[in-house]
Subunit: 235 residues, 2 copies
């Protein structure tokens, strides 16, 4: 039975604890937060705090020769410098407070200083029903940048679409099936093969009529730039 | 029984014919293409050809006092000028040759010169198991622009993400669950409420480290522009 202490009181810590408690093969020991005075004995200490706090919080943990990991996509493993046995266990998913998390849809990016500790993290991941990938700190950084494009920037495209709908009294609901289908396609096609639309077809008449329609300067700039990007990809 | 002739030989015509044939309440009469010499008698003529060809193809149809519609998101209804009874019947979805189309996920944007013809198009849409919205030519234009953002531009964000993965030897597969979840959130949340990430948090340290990481000038420009757009939305 692998004993686990979770450090932190945010979204990730919350969902993690709930999932650990569901498993029979790993044991939730303690949620260590700002108000805790004493840290309990465990096999694994998961530091699920904000990026800026990882160094300080991990340094303050009074544990010796135990595996300490953080869950950040942006921080290198070396930020846990006070601990000999260290690792990173980064869930590459978007968490919302409002929504239940299905751990089956979370790939964990795992890194550790020793193979034994890597294996321990793999076992914990399996117990949580999640999937895993062996990812170095450098690779994780590239994944985090890529995630900003495919999650945050994609969501901003949804936001601009919804703004256009609102300005013209059209329900955004009409676009929801298209949004769903566009994401679904990517589950089995590479994005390059999935592309359609006026930029892809070099349909300059439609592109110009869209730019005339948009009016707002910043939307036009985004439209032009991403149109060019599509044309370069397929040029 | 509503009798239907489909004009055209592209993707939309192909999927449409297959679906009409499944219904017991509407009847597929003919697929009229470049090689056809004689057009058959029907209640509804659906012109599913490329935008540039609609005017010419529809003008060449030897039918009188029959409802003629096109399926384009960009063309006004008036492009069917040779016909008195006209309409637009625009399926707002992305079609791929490789993939089966589920008509339940297609909202049709309907417009017609008379209420009776509008009702006829609504009935046909229901027979195909699809959903419908009453949309004017002007509204349809705004929907088409919005669709470019939420479909084509979103797909280009996927493409850039996949390029970053490739350059750093990370499997793009790790990002697929995140892509899926980001689209799923939008099925019940407005995009503004769904946003997360460094731009949303005004985390300038992470933003700068991402820009340093990207190196390629055009990716940096896109990153900066969409980051600003997110910050304006949430400013």
């Amino acid at each position: 039975m692998i004993k686990i202490v979770v450090i932190g009181s945010g979204n990730v810590a919350f969902h993690l604890i709930k999932q650990i408690e569901k498993s029979d093969e790993i044991q939730f020991i303690q949620n260590y937060t700002r108000l805790s005075t004493h840290i309990k004995e465990a096999d694994l200490y998961i530091v699920a705090v904000s990026d800026d706090a990882i160094a300080e919080v991990s340094a303050s943990l009074a544990v010796k020769n135990k595996l300490v990991v953080h869950t950040s996509g942006t921080q290198p493993m070396s930020v846990l410098s006070d601990h000999i046995r260290k690792g990173v266990w980064y869930p590459l998913q978007t968490f919302s407070k409002q929504k239940k998390v299905d751990f089956k849809t979370i790939p964990f990016c795992i890194e550790a200083t020793t193979e034994a500790d890597y294996q321990l993290l793999e076992r914990v991941t399996v117990c949580l029903t999640a999937s895993f990938f062996r990812i170095s700190s450098e690779q994780r950084k590239s994944l985090h940048v890529a995630a900003v494009f495919v999650c945050n920037f994609v969501n901003q495209m949804y936001q601009i679409g919804s703004q256009i709908c609102e300005e013209h009294q059209v329900p955004f609901d009409i676009l929801r099936p298209l949004i769903q289908e566009t994401a679904k396609k990517i589950q089995y096609l590479p994005p390059k093969q999935a592309q359609t639309g006026p930029a892809f077809r070099n349909d300059s008449k439609t592109i110009q009529s869209h730019l005339d329609f948009l009016e707002e300067k910043q939307m036009q700039t985004i439209y032009t730039l991403i149109t060019k990007s599509i044309q370069q990809t397929h040029g």
